[in-house]
């Protein structure tokens, strides 16, 4: 054992790929994407030549073969063999991508004897189920018909069309995506279908419901709508006053005006920043042994908030984060944005300096490719990607953009970044520290001790229409300009991935699931989009609208689909036609994330400190929880209580000490980008909400506030118990209690006050705590 082909432990075809791009003109590469490679090479590269059938027939004739290589053998070899048996680094020194490679055989000699089925080593290994090797303990033995095809081919003399070079990614098959994979194709131009709906989104969605004869759920009631909208856009519940105003607003555009109010709220940026900071794997310490604080990391967080609030176009948003030090209008803010490249983990005591550099490149390539392209480039560090058309060279082409930066082990005080002098500002940012870096070499199996060919900085070959190498810097440039060029390509109209990825992320935030359900992986192992035409139309609309995200938010939340009730009137029909609600016949019920839950408790208790931005506060953590902390980086000192009532976005994020309350409610790990958090339901959540001291304090404040006269409170008449219950319900869930709820609560207050230790204030506090624990408080319909 030791090495398992399934998970890829070796570089399989670096040389093949280099050949493709060095010897084959770009136009040919483009044609490959359309699966015309074999045709072109066989026909002597005459684009626009004979139609496929003719070429096919001609080649068959030329080769004089009795078997059709393309129809029967090529696919088997591509699917089953060339992942490992390709190029000069080929497994067993056997290259099965060319006729010459086949003829040359491998380390153990010839692999086929033409016309002799019984003496061909290749057939022997395959028939024995030894090739392809087993994967995760499961046999990968070929199906009988594929083995028969190989046998027939060898029996016919193993003909190989002249010039034909097999390419792992020439076509999508059941094992991996090819260059024809949907997310790599240009954005479709399809306009919204005709229909009655005013919102183009609904014109895309409604016909799909009609196809399965499923009626949409009616619009949700106003209370539900405003609660949903408010949590979605600003991450906070509506106040009773806001709720009452909306309920009382009879104007036809009452809802749209709520949308505009919330989009204009400074809290909008806070909410959207939370989503982005997950993707940016943002935390404020380095992790590892000392887990030291990254000074000024919070300024990057504030930059993100501000960017969303000011509706910074997304192309500029990404450009500043990748290359804010290189842009023409560079200023301190744009340099702060490059904190994106600094807020990941950083090892202050690397094991060896060489490995350290490549670990850092992996972090940067991974966060960049995941955040903006929705592809897992990091898989291609050691070998061509197992599932997507990402060559190992593509990984290094992107890595080369970061190579001139401060990625070597230097003075620990710099924390892996440039010095203030190098950067030009004393902030947490990124810049090149040389304009003449040594060439970056591809690493065989990702092993720093096995450098191979040099790789120049450039774009992604999987989008061939815009594939290019980056231009060298001008003689007087301060930086290489590689990141600026990378950002320019990522944001270019020719790259279909970026707009699809960000549109899908926004869709997920509003509808609970993306149109493509894995927002970080639009590749082979991610689910296919449920509505590809809608995704593409929205992506084009984003570009048409100047990459402004607010109008996209507005478009989404004003759709009929967004406004539907979460309970469908005909559950049996849903169960039959669309049990996973792919077609959005009704709204998805969602549990509040950790931050929204904490913020909601503060908002409801009346304690929420709405100050924007600035340094993070350190949430109090019980001494029991602190036992798990190594104190090498210094003791943890919570902030003064008055600073700990701010929104969760501003909670200091320390990699080695995740606040228990937050992680219990699935706050994500910050090592790698996270576009979609897990949502779990475990008893420790119940324990936290029932017994955690901090939560208890919020319940106490909530209870106390019910006993106060508030000039802004909608219900401030006589503060008797009945009135207090009404107030409590309005605050917590935006409505008055029902009679059964009222009866149960009154009985509880009585019971709790009567018990030995009970007194009214304790009983009220306890009741408020129960409200924090209700499903209605935690779930958004």
């Amino acid at each position: 054992m030791g090495v398992f082909a399934c998970l890829g432990s070796r570089a399989s075809s670096g040389v093949v790929s280099s050949r493709c791009y060095k010897l084959v003109p770009l136009v040919l590469t483009v044609a490959w994407a359309a699966h015309a490679c074999s045709r072109l090479s066989a026909a002597g590269a005459e684009p626009g030549g004979s139609p496929p059938e003719t070429a096919e027939a001609a080649r068959r004739e030329e080769s004089g073969a009795a078997v059709d290589f393309e129809a029967t053998v090529a696919g088997v070899l591509v699917r089953r063999c060339v992942e490992c048996h390709a190029g000069s680094d080929a497994e067993g020194e056997l290259d099965l991508t060319t006729a010459a490679g086949l003829a040359a055989g491998g380390a153990s000699g010839p692999v086929i004897v033409p016309h002799d089925v019984t003496s061909s080593f290749l057939l022997e290994r395959v028939a024995a189920g030894e090739m392809p090797p087993e994967k995760n303990g499961a046999s990968q033995a070929l199906p009988a018909e594929e083995l028969a095809a190989l046998r027939g081919w060898v029996a016919a003399g193993a003909p190989w069309p002249e010039g034909r070079v097999l390419d792992l990614y020439e076509q999508t098959n059941e094992l991996r995506a090819g260059r024809d994979w949907w997310s790599l194709q240009p954005l479709a131009e399809q306009p919204p279908p005709a229909g009655d709906a005013a919102n183009p989104i609904d014109r895309f969605l409604n016909p799909r419901l009609a196809e399965v004869s499923l009626a949409a759920a009616p619009e949700a009631d106003r209370r539900t709508l405003l609660r949903r909208l408010s949590f979605d856009l600003i991450g906070l519940p509506p106040s009773p006053a806001e709720m009452e105003a909306f309920l009382a607003d009879a104007s036809p555009d009452a809802y749209e005006r709520q949308v505009d109010r919330l989009l204009a709220s400074p809290h909008f940026g806070e909410r959207q920043a939370r989503h982005w900071l997950d993707v940016a794997r943002f935390a404020e310490t380095n992790g590892y042994e000392r887990d030291a604080e990254k000074p000024g990391a919070w300024r990057y967080r504030d930059w993100v908030v501000q960017a969303f609030n000011s509706d910074l176009p997304f192309d500029e948003f990404l450009t500043d984060q990748l290359a804010g030090d290189e842009v023409a209008d560079r200023d301190e803010a744009s340099v702060v944005a490059t904190g994106f490249l600094r807020v990941g983990t950083w090892d202050d005591e690397p094991n060896d300096d060489l490995g350290y550099r490549y670990e850092r490149l992996e972090d940067l390539v991974h966060v960049t490719s995941t955040a903006f392209l929705g592809l897992t480039f990091k898989c291609a560090r050691c070998h061509d990607h197992k599932f997507d058309a990402v060559l190992q060279e593509d990984y290094y082409r992107m890595a080369a953009a970061f190579w001139p930066g401060p990625i070597t082990a230097r003075d620990r005080a710099l924390m892996g970044g440039p010095s203030a002098e190098e950067l030009g500002y004393a902030v947490l940012g990124w810049t090149d520290i040389t304009t003449t870096p040594e060439p970056l070499r591809l690493l065989a199996s990702g092993d720093p001790h096995r450098p191979r060919q040099e790789v120049a900085a450039g774009t992604f070959s999987g989008v061939p229409a815009s594939f290019h190498q980056f231009a060298p810097p001008a003689a007087d440039a301060n930086t290489t300009g590689r990141r600026r060029q990378l950002a320019a390509w990522i944001a270019s109209d020719d790259n279909p991935l970026t707009p699809r990825v960000i549109v899908n992320r926004l869709w997920q935030h509003h509808f609970g699931e993306g149109l493509c359900r894995d927002p970080d992986n639009l590749g082979f192992n991610g689910p296919l989009p449920t509505h590809p035409a809608l995704l593409d139309w929205l992506a084009r609309d984003l570009i048409r609208g100047g990459w402004h995200l607010k109008r996209l938010h507005r478009l989404m939340v004003t759709s009929d689909a967004y406004r539907r009730a979460s309970v469908h009137p005909d559950p049996a029909a849903v169960h039959m036609a669309d049990p996973d609600n792919h077609l959005l016949s009704h709204a998805r019920r969602r549990r509040l994330d950790a931050e929204s839950l904490r913020d909601a408790m503060l908002a409801v208790s009346g304690e929420l400190d709405r100050r924007l931005g600035g340094e993070s506060f350190r949430q109090p953590i019980s001494s029991e929880a602190l036992e798990g902390l190594s104190m090498k980086g210094g003791a943890y000192t919570p902030s003064p209580p008055e600073d700990c009532l701010r929104r969760s976005l501003y909670m200091f994020s320390k990699r080695g000490l995740i606040v228990p309350m937050m992680t219990t409610f699935d706050q994500c790990d910050t090592t790698m980008p996270t576009g979609r958090r897990d949502v779990s339901i475990v008893p420790t959540q119940a324990l936290t909400l029932l017994n955690n001291q901090w939560v208890g304090e919020r319940a106490a404040a909530f209870a106390a506030s019910l006993h106060e006269q508030s000039p802004t409170e909608a219900h401030q008449a006589v503060a008797d118990d009945r009135e207090r219950l009404t107030r409590a319900w309005w605050r917590a869930v935006g409505r008055p209690p029902t009679e059964p709820e009222r009866a149960a609560s009154e009985a509880y207050l009585q019971l709790a006050s009567d018990s030995a230790t009970g007194e009214p204030s304790v009983a009220w506090q306890s009741l408020c705590l129960v409200l924090f624990n209700t499903n209605e408080f935690l779930f958004i319909d």
């Binding site: 998970l7 303990g137 949907w182 296919l528």
Partner: protein, 482 residues
């Protein structure tokens, strides 16, 4: 044509998650789920199911107790005797032995073991004088003397010992085990970690993190007295009766809410989780209530005396947890830094004297106790640090030893382990593993194997890849398997 095969094993991600089960004791949703196929997708889909799962391979082992000697014990002073160190005492390590000198400490001269070894049991397994109690269990131990790891810094090496890689952010061994096997007792966490009072391991939470798996799979920190789990007890003056009243009110309010939302399985699951929490409130303190143990048992573990009180207590609790169906228990010996751990830079005799003194009797008592209760067959016990120590001192008159990732010793005992075994070897100085080298990945593969899990099949799909504890490496050390 675009053909795709969905997730590994032909399952959707959601199905895959539900199918795998495991994790922290949680919502027993099986009934709910079976009633109506899988829970319908929502962003709020709960992602833990907790039924016990059958292993990949036949095994009697149902639990693992991992005794992590934080700070790194010295192999040549514990289980890897090196007569050559006597012979070459006072000489430098041969220059061809290359290594990274961690922390740039002074490099002293080759130094023999500070306490004598004794051949023990029928197997004659050599055990150092640091472990007088453990000696009687020699025939239960499989000592692996050829361990090696990738890094010489405590923080990253601890993370590697726990998660397979020296970078943070991956699920820990315990997470993989509960993911693979589920948990036997729904009222208890499936994966429990008990730290040393002096502090947590360097690196903190990532050492018991669930990484890219849901948070439900992470280790639960367990405190050795009172209410072992954070926020377990209802605050005064409420008490248990008051909490019951709260839960009754909550149930009524949730019922009202659910009545208007038929088919809301996530709502039902969350309501049910409160009853599980209520049971855990009784069950977990019971597990740490050592007043239920006899005086003789407490004495055997050294619970009521120093220096064994703390680790003895933890070992006894570990047995009680295993009895209650907890899948994976990790105990730390050593916490904080330097001499508070096994990090013997100053003096091996003094440091290991202290830490072995704290742990030897409790560990021996644990093995005896497990055996007498018939639990040793079903419980795998693992002992080791994050790396080893150098065969040379830190200078003249400085009898400490520096970090050594190139060779170190671990042992296993109990479930499925061939006792009285010494596997693999370091070179004549005890500097580097040379024969039958066992990387941390191989250790992990072996632990999983003994627990009935094939490390190549235990995968979690994350960001486009079937992730494994052992990445693309690892081979179980079958020679120590009975």
């Amino acid at each position: 044509m675009q053909v795709r095969n969905g997730y590994p094993c032909g399952l959707s991600r959601r199905e895959a998650i539900w199918e795998m089960g495991g994790g922290f004791a949680g919502v027993a949703l099986a009934g709910l789920l079976q009633r109506d196929g899988f829970q319908r997708a929502t962003a709020a889909e709960p992602v833990n199911s907790f039924t016990a799962k059958p292993p990949h391979l036949p095994t009697k082992v149902t639990s693992c107790i991992f005794l992590l000697m934080n700070g790194a014990p010295s192999q040549v002073d514990t289980f890897d005797p090196k007569p050559a160190l006597e012979k070459y005492a006072g000489m430098p390590l041969p220059p061809e032995k290359e290594f990274i000198n961690s922390g740039g400490r002074a490099m002293g001269l080759l130094t023999p073991a500070c306490r004598p070894f004794e051949r023990c049991g029928e197997s004659g397994l050599p055990i150092s004088g640091f472990f007088p109690h453990l000696k009687r269990h020699a025939d239960k131990l499989a000592v692996i003397r050829s361990c090696h790891t990738d890094t010489h810094a405590h923080g990253s090496a601890l993370v590697q010992m726990n998660t397979g890689k020296p970078i943070i952010g991956r699920p820990s061994l315990g997470s993989w085990v509960v993911y693979g096997l589920g948990t036997e007792n729904q009222d208890m966490p499936g994966y429990v970690v008990m730290l040393d009072k002096r502090g947590g391991p360097i690196g903190g939470q990532p050492n018991w993190s669930s990484g890219f798996m849901p948070a439900g799979y992470q280790g639960t920190l367990f405190r050795p007295t009172g209410n072992p789990i954070l926020d377990l007890a209802s605050p005064e003056p409420l008490g248990r009766a008051g909490q019951r009243q709260q839960l009754d009110l909550l149930a009524k309010l949730n019922e009202e809410h659910m009545r208007a939302r038929p088919g809301g399985e996530e709502l039902a699951a969350r309501a049910a989780s409160y009853e599980l929490a209520f049971r855990m409130q009784a069950e977990a303190p019971d597990a740490v209530d050592l007043s239920q143990e006899t005086a003789a048992m407490r004495a055997a573990y050294g619970v009521d005396q120093e220096p064994t009180a703390e680790f003895g207590r933890n070992c006894l609790i570990a047995r009680r947890l295993v009895e209650r169906g907890v899948r994976f228990v990790q105990l730390y010996s050593g916490g904080g830094h330097l001499e508070e751990t096994w990090d013997a830079h100053e003096s091996v005799e003094k440091n290991h004297g202290q830490h072995a003194g704290e742990t030897d009797q409790p560990i021996a008592a644990l093995l005896t106790d497990l055996e007498q209760r018939g639990l040793l067959e079903s419980t795998l016990v693992v002992w080791g640090g994050e790396f080893g120590r150098m065969p040379f001192s830190e200078g003249t008159g400085k009898p400490g030893r520096n970090h050594n990732p190139y060779g170190f010793t671990m042992w296993m005992a109990g479930g499925g382990v061939k006792g009285g075994t010494a596997y693999g070897a370091t070179d004549e100085f005890g500097f580097a593993a040379v024969d039958n080298r066992v990387h941390v990945h191989d250790i992990h593969a072996t632990i999983l194997h003994l627990m009935g899990l094939d490390h190549t099949r235990l995968t979690w799909f994350h960001q486009g890849r079937d992730e494994r504890l052992t990445d693309v490496y690892g081979t179980p050390v079958l020679d120590i398997v009975a």
